[in-house]
């Protein structure tokens, strides 16, 4: 029994092979800047959380101060 598939995969196009051999130009990303920005981005959510906590605390302190002053 033959094991040859009915639709054998055609060999790759020589032009596509020749094109794929061209190396894309180096990416030019600044490594240190990228890693710094990535570190900041990864902590952005935690930073926002603590900013909200600080804001709430500041509001509470202000309200308490006003209440004390009114007494």
């Amino acid at each position: 029994m033959s094991t040859t598939p009915n639709n054998p995969t055609p060999p790759p196009d020589p032009l596509a092979v020749a094109l794929a051999k061209l190396e894309p130009a180096p990416h030019g990303l600044e490594w240190n800047a990228l890693m710094f920005a990535a570190g900041r981005a990864s902590k952005a959510r935690a930073l926002r959380f603590w900013q909200c906590v600080a804001g709430v605390c500041a509001l509470a302190a202000g309200a308490l101060a006003l209440a004390l002053f009114a007494r």
């Binding site: 032009l15 894309p24 130009a25 890693m35």
Partner: protein
Amino acid sequence: MAPDQLAELVDRYAAALVLYARQWCACPEDVVQTAFLKLVRQGRPPDNLLPWLYRVVRNGAIDASRAARRRTRYETAADDGAPKWFAPSHDPTGLDARTAADALAALPAETREIIVAHLWGGLTFEQIAEAVGSSAATCYRRYAAGLDTLRLKLGADRPAHAK
């Protein structure tokens, strides 16, 4: 995402992503960096990471191109960026990098992006379809038509099985 994971992704995909973004805008590095930062902000990487990255880079590059056109009213940056697409080729029997870049730059954008994503990004036609919002069959048809156009421009032979 851990720094070493990000570093590995940048090493593997950044050059091809920059090449992909360069088709639309003059600041492809910024667009790719923004895409990586968006990935970091997500916390958990998306299931289909590669199509996701290409889609984010594509949208970012198109937005950047629109903004640049509004500012300068010059022709698309892809035209003047074309010669910088590839590193100079050291293979005397291979294609000339500048000629290939010029031929690619002359293709319609919707054809060129598929060829770039498939040949240099290594995406399958299903993944490209996911990134560009089309079907795999349409992507393949555009890819084949684009290769035929490039064949005429570069004077390359047709593959034996297609003759």
